[in-house]
């Protein structure tokens, strides 16, 4: 199983970050406003803020680390995107939204979103639901650790397993994300996991026609059962919005998942680096549904 996890851990995406001209002094070279980076799927965009600030620091029209009246956030096609989801999850959502997501090789080579375009913008107030990007270097670490606390509680009914990590282990855990140390990550995340989970930490993302995303976090009990995705179809699909199982692809870690997959297997193999299993529902357009399976 660790082979699959290693593949996911090593997965990377090309990200093109463009910086809004309002950040820069007049006359700044155009090329300074564009940053092309290769980013692991299993990390946060906000971890790249020091790199971004460093690249443009000589051309900034203000000091982003001390100017508390300015807010920054990322956008994709003028829609704000949250930094607090793994980059791979954002990609799955945005690629699905732009109707070019596919897992079939033929379609990939001719018409696929090959990189994630994001735009760094600023304003006097934040868009709704967007967590501000703080100047604190520990913002992402603290958020991520809280995610794991939730995951630990959902899995075990108590957050004791994660709270019992020593200070060194807790630092090593986050350090493994930053330094991309897979062995350290697996070693510590296994201490939090359970072979007999009470519930599965699951987050469902569904793109809406308005351009926004609907996020839901159903409670999936595992006590005495081992359901397939089909068994929990009602929890996954948004019945109120009239979504039918035949109309959507279930995408996880960039892979189309068959409905007969066992949820626990899916979780243990494809969970994200914050401990949650993210499922993205991508509308099927005109029979483009790919037939690939795990």
């Amino acid at each position: 199983m660790n082979d699959i996890k290693q593949l996911l851990w090593n997965g990377e995406l090309n990200v093109l970050v463009s910086i809004d001209p309002s950040f820069l002094m007049k006359g700044s070279p155009r090329e300074i406003a564009v940053l092309r980076i290769r980013v692991p799927r299993e990390t946060y965009l906000v971890n790249y803020m020091p790199l971004i600030w460093n690249k443009i620091k000589s051309f900034l029209s203000f000091d982003p680390l001390t100017d508390s009246e300015k807010y920054f956030w990322f956008e994709h096609n003028k829609t704000p995107i949250p930094w607090n989801y793994p980059v791979g999850v954002l990609f799955d959502c945005l690629a699905g939204k732009s109707a070019t997501f596919t897992t079939s090789f033929e379609n990939q080579v001719k018409d696929v979103l090959t990189f994630l375009r994001i735009h760094l913008v600023m304003g006097d107030s934040l868009p709704p639901t967007i967590i501000p990007i703080a100047s604190s270097k520990t913002q992402a670490e603290k958020f991520w650790f809280h995610q794991w606390k939730q995951v630990c509680f959902i899995l075990n009914g108590s957050s004791k397993a994660i709270m019992s990590l020593s200070v060194n282990e807790a630092r090593k855990f986050w350090g493994s994300v930053i330094t991309r140390n897979f062995q350290d990550f697996i070693e510590i995340s296994n201490k939090i996991s359970s072979s007999r989970p009470r519930h599965i930490p699951l987050i469902i993302q569904t793109s809406r026609t308005s351009g926004t995303f609907r996020i839901s976090q159903p409670t999936i009990s595992m006590t005495g059962v081992n359901p397939t995705l089909k068994d929990i179809e009602g929890d996954i699909l948004d019945v109120k919005e009239g979504i039918n199982g035949n109309d959507v692809m279930v995408i996880c870690q960039g892979i189309e998942i068959p409905w007969h997959m066992l949820l626990y297997d899916l979780y243990s193999k494809l969970r994200s680096f914050d401990g949650f299993l993210y499922i993205t529902l991508v509308p099927i357009k005109g029979g483009d549904k790919a037939s690939s399976e795990l």
Binding site: S158, K160, M163, V167, A170, N190, K191, S195, R196
Partner: protein, 310 residues
């Protein structure tokens, strides 16, 4: 005050030891105190180390920024008597043998539990506490009962009275060189922010401990005179030793149960690392268990938002 002065001389004169014996004696070294404090502050940041300041009387065997731990403005919405249903004259408190007999110590830490067991559901004080799991479970049930009671009370218009009873405490944990254990100091304020008198602070110490272990003294680590009530640490090591033994037994039992379950299920991939888990409490978690003990001394001061101790 004489006792307090003698105590501070003893603190000053007792030599420091650096040899770790916490599992066998319940005592910790200054280095282990720092380690436990670091863990507490990192995982449960309502607790913080002191900041360096000219107001502090530093002890040179501890780092200047790790002289004592502090948590501020901890709510205390009722008096200690209101936290327990006292059984009356039948409750017998034993004196402590100097050598810290286990039964004495368990009675020391369990006295609160005896009250807890005397629930409206009909429990009796004679029920013995032989399992910390049961103890905690009982405490949780009691907590729920208390919440229910509070809701009912508020519904009857008791909110104003509640607010008048509201107090806040600053809690300090320092290192006692005399007893080689952490020592707790509490400094109380009323709902207006005015300091409480020692007599008022005594109201928030469990009756069983009030005359035995609570001492009025100035905070020794501040140059300015700040009056506090301290929990005398003479029995802390014995209590901690018993609790640490209990932790080991409970963990050992749980691990065996888990192994049996796994054998029934077939071994899961994720549990391979269970083998390297030591059943004893790590020393950095010492203060988590210590706070559980302190909760039994100050049951109405709601300071413990850490985690279960075993």
């Amino acid at each position: 005050m004489i006792r307090s002065t003698l105590s501070s001389w003893r603190e000053y004169l007792t030599p420091i030891t650096h040899k770790s014996t916490f599992l066998t004696t319940g005592q910790i070294t200054p280095e282990e105190f720092v380690q436990a404090g670091d863990y507490l502050c990192h995982m449960f940041p309502t607790w913080k180390w002191n900041e360096e300041s000219s107001d502090i009387s530093y002890r040179d065997f501890l780092p200047k920024n790790k002289q004592f731990l502090i948590i501020r403005k901890v709510p205390c919405d009722k008096r200690a008597e209101q936290c327990v249903e006292v059984e009356g004259p039948d409750v017998i408190m034993k004196g402590f043998a100097e050598d810290g007999d286990e039964d004495d110590v368990l009675e020391y830490i369990g006295s609160e539990t005896e009250h807890v067991q005397s629930t409206p559901a009909g429990g009796t004080k004679d029920s013995s506490i032989d399992d910390i799991d049961e103890l905690i479970q009982d405490m949780e049930i009691k907590e729920e009962d208390e919440n229910d009671d509070t809701e009912e009370f508020n519904a009857k218009g008791g909110l104003a009275k509640d607010m008048a009873q509201e107090r806040y405490y600053d809690l300090y944990i320092a290192y006692s060189t005399s007893y080689r254990v952490p020592k707790m100091y509490i400094v109380g304020f009323n709902s207006n922010g005015s300091p409480l008198s020692p007599e008022q602070m005594f109201e928030d110490i469990s009756a069983d401990y009030r005359t035995k272990t609570a001492t009025i003294e100035k905070l020794p680590f501040y140059k300015n005179s700040v009056l506090s009530v301290s929990i005398h640490p003479c029995k802390h090591a014995n209590v901690m030793k018993i609790l640490l033994d209990k932790v080991r037994v409970v963990r050992q039992r749980r691990r065996k149960e888990l192994q049996e379950e796994q054998e029934l299920d077939g071994v899961g991939d994720w549990e391979d690392l269970q083998d390297d888990i030591d059943d004893s409490l790590r020393v950095d978690q010492y203060l988590i268990v210590f706070l559980k003990f302190i909760t039994s001394v100050t049951p109405s001061i709601q300071h413990d938002y850490t985690m279960e101790g075993w």
